[in-house]
Amino acid sequence: MMNVQLRIRRYNPEADDVPHWEEYAVEAEPTDRVLDLLHQVKWYQDGTLTFRRSCAHGVCGSDAMLINGRNRLACEYLVKDAGTKITVEAIRGMDVVKDLLVDMEPFWESFKQTMPFLVNDEIPADGKERRQSPADRERYEDTSRCILCAACTSACPVFWSDQSYVGPAAIVNAHRFIVDSRDTAKQERLEIMADPDGVWRCRTVFNCVEACPRDIKITRAILEVTGEIGKAGIR
């Protein structure tokens, strides 16, 4: 057991004009997750501490936070790596609604703008699955792993300065369908991505790649999308 000092940026819209820092002392095992520490505070010290979480092992994407200065999932970051002084605040570029919880609605709107669904209503004559070679399947393997946690978009300086930019998460999800050999809406998707608020806004800062808890090669996906736009002759 070790003693950990947890600094959390708190904000309660019903009581506070501005956010403030609060400190909590918690006991932890080196293998505890930062999420476990947040639960210790919420369950046994101060029930008003508010954050989202569900699966607690990095697959549902609920608990992206800025921890020790970097976007991470609280359920994937262990005390042995985070140290005995841990600072936690909400991800940036999105409105803080309460404590560590941000307004996700604009994020979902950007996601939905990209037509995040396969378009192909033709069913093979034999009624069976469409064929797809392992090589074609591999083209969207990386981007199909996105868990929509918003760690990338909320780490992007272009997005911080102008939230009309669709952001890296939306582009990752557009890429997943643009390079899927089964899809029939490629042209439409590329036109959406070629919009002034689309893929051209990326300045290849690589913050998104660093922030992604799934290690998705986001900048590469963005470059592939710009390449496809070029090939399609869209201006």
């Binding site: 309660n12 819209p13 019903e14 009581a15 293998t31 919420k42 369950w43 046994y44 101060d46 029930g47 008003t48 508010t50 954050f51 989202r52 979480r53 569900s54 699966c55 607690a56 092992h57 990095g58 697959v59 549902c60 994407g61 609920s62 994937e76 262990l78 042995k80 609604v97 309460k98 919880l101 996700m104 979902w108 939905k112 037509m115 995040p116 669904f117 396969l118 378009v119 192909n120 069913i123 009624g127 069976k128 699955e129 469409r130 064929r131 797809q132 070679s133 392992p134 399947r137 969207y140 393997e141 199909s144 792993r145 868990i147 929509l148 369908f177 899927d180 089964r182 899809d183």
Partner: protein
């Protein structure tokens, strides 16, 4: 404290829909999609989730979903049917399992058409691999039946269905916690909507619809060590149970053999499907002793009990409460390409390297075979005789069809949510014309309001987390892998005492914005109700079958216990009653179960 000032649900927060789906996992989303496809774009189909849909626990399912496509070797859906019945220790309703295994093939193909990123064979077909309990030719040996997307099949299913629901413009009500059913004609009448609290504002909303589907998942959080998400608190089971409707086969809970030690979440059975195996402290591959044919791929209840016995007899690692999973020989290609998430979990949470290190695992509470009783079209049953509750449907882990009997086979949970979510959606679409117009349940609205007010205004009592931790410890040690009359009796009394203590809960957060403290208090009450039904059903069943293992009654007893448990609680007096329903046997006569 704005909430306390209000009387009932304000008319501005009443939502009139054609059909309401509660829960946005695979079952709920497939039903919603089906409803939209059957009824057309103008149909008002609402999906209510206490999370965002992409957070649902379907997304945590790893290894695959079985269907006898026969893409990599000979297979037949009848073999899958047999495996499901045998895996369920013959408590499976065989007509229902027949529907599931038969529909599996078409359903998986439909998912591919919807865009699911299945792994492919060299010929471009959906690839398939081995999984526990799935055999060729009625038990001869393992068969490749599990269709998969790397080791995140559930994530791929959840994403695909969410995506297509966006395409079909399903209406989503995200971050609403459903707290009660609308039963405007009283407990013997139809269901006509739900009452929910919007997390962002703590305001109550009434959703009125002719048809309501519960697809809210399981209740693994009654146990200390579980693979389940924090949010799996049995809401969809507890709500009808409180209103006097039955729960079926609640004593059957699956403990998955390979939970990560202490953490509880899973290392997929696919790790054994690809060739991994278990070893004890002496380095012995002990499953060869317990299941000579299927070895490490015997059904989950068998493997979990074997691990438990190894530990009980002192052959846990260093005499402790875990054994090792050995996957070192699988090599980098398999571990990094076919099992990348699993390998990542081992590296992240244990700091171990699966290529060179043994991995500590222990059985973890994983899946409820029981739940809200339904027919094969998701219609909820009022009693063991089979009467229907008009307007009420359930699908997925919250429901009990029963296709899993006393023990669910690996991959059949994803299949269950898909086949029965889809069938429920179709059935609801067909039933809408005959169902009466929805009406309000003012009494239920007032009662939910009062409950919330009590929690917010209360100034004395215990923290929900304290009671929850005691409940989880009690259920894990006294109603876990092995049970006895004495342990279960103690467990029943302790759960009753915890229920009493939970009448006074201390909620710190008195505000109305994202009051998740209040939300957890509601969830604790749901967990306590589910625990009561589980231990009440377990205490009565004096035999061992599948996920219900009694040390004092070690044998399966078909003469007395080849039947489903229905447990109800009298909403007025609180008395529990048990009735039983015969198992439907159409083809496979019960016989001894060996692997």
């Amino acid at each position: 404290m704005t909430l306390a000032a209000r009387g009932g649900v304000s008319p501005t927060r009443v939502h009139e829909m054609d059909a309401i789906v509660v829960g946005a996992g695979g079952a709920g989303l497939y039903a919603a999609l089906e409803l939209k496809q059957e009824l057309g774009p103008t149909a008002r189909i609402g999906v209510i989730s206490k999370l965002y849909p992409s957070r649902s626990h379907t997304g945590a399912a790893q290894g695959g979903v079985c269907a006898a496509l026969g893409n990599t070797e000979e297979d037949h859906w009848e073999w899958h049917w047999f495996d499901t019945v045998k895996g369920g220790d013959y408590l499976v309703d065989q007509d229902a399992a027949e529907v599931m295994c038969h529909d599996a093939v078409e359903t998986i193909i439909n998912l591919e058409h919807l865009g699911l990123p299945f792994d492919r064979t060299e010929d471009g077909l959906i690839n398939q691999r081995r999984f526990g309990g799935h055999t060729r030719n009625y038990g001869e040996g393992p068969v490749r039946r599990s269709c998969f997307a790397a080791d995140r099949t559930g994530h791929a299913i959840l994403q695909t269905l969410f995506q297509q629901c966006i395409r079909r413009e399903v209406t989503f009500f995200d971050e609403y916690q459903v707290l009660d059913l609308a039963l405007p004609e009283g407990p013997d009448g139809r269901v006509s909507g739900v009452i929910a609290m919007q997390t962002a504002t703590s305001e109550l909303h009434a959703f009125r619809a002719k048809a309501v589907l519960f697809a809210t998942g399981g209740y693994g959080k009654i146990f200390k060590v579980t693979s389940n998400a924090h949010t799996l608190t049995g809401d969809g089971m507890a709500i009808p149970y409180r209103r006097g409707l039955p729960l079926e086969d609640m004593e059957f809970f699956q403990f998955h053999p390979t939970g990560m030690h202490r953490l509880g979440f899973l290392l997929s059975e696919a790790m054994r499907g690809e060739g991994g195996f278990l070893v004890n402290d002496t380095g012995e591959r002990f499953m060869e002793r317990y299941a000579p044919t299927m070895k490490d791929l015997a059904s989950r209840d068998v493997v979990s009990r074997s691990i438990y016995l190894e530990i009980a007899e002192g052959r846990g690692i260093g005499g402790s409460d875990f054994v090792h999973l050995d996957v070192r020989h699988l090599g980098a290609e398999v571990l990094n390409k076919k099992l990348p998430d699993m390998s990542g979990f081992i590296r992240t949470y244990f700091g171990l390297e699966p290529l060179t290190d043994l991995v500590p695992i222990q059985p973890t509470a994983h899946y409820a075979m029981g739940g809200v009783p339904t027919d094969v079209d998701g219609r909820v049953l009022r009693d063991a005789a089979g009467a229907i509750v008009p307007g009420f449907y359930a699908a997925g882990e919250v429901a009990c069809v029963s296709v899993h009997g006393a023990n669910r086979l690996g991959t059949n949970s994803l299949l269950d949510i898909l086949v029965f979510g889809r069938r429920a959606g179709k059935r609801m679409a067909a039933d809408l014309a005959d169902l009466p117009e929805p009406a309000a349940d003012a009494e239920a609205e007032a009662s939910v309001q009062a409950h919330a007010r009590d929690l917010l205004e209360g100034t004395r009592g215990e923290r929900p987390a304290v009671i929850r931790a005691e409940l989880q410890e009690t259920m894990f040690t006294k109603c876990g892998v092995y049970r006895t009359q004495q342990l279960l009796t103690e467990c029943r009394d302790e759960v009753a005492a915890l229920r009493k203590r939970a009448r006074h809960l201390l909620v710190d957060d008195k505000g109305s914005r994202y009051n998740t403290d209040l939300g957890e208090a509601f969830e604790l009450n749901f967990l306590l109700d589910c625990a009561e039904a589980t231990v009440g059903s377990a205490l009565a069943r004096r035999e061992s079958r599948g996920g219900h293992a009694r040390e004092d009654f070690p044998e399966r007893d078909d003469a007395d216990w080849l039947k489903h448990t229905f447990i109800t609680r009298d909403p007025a007096g609180g008395d529990l009653s048990l009735t039983y329903k015969p198992v439907t046997i159409t083809k496979f006569e019960p016989k001894a179960r060996t692997y």
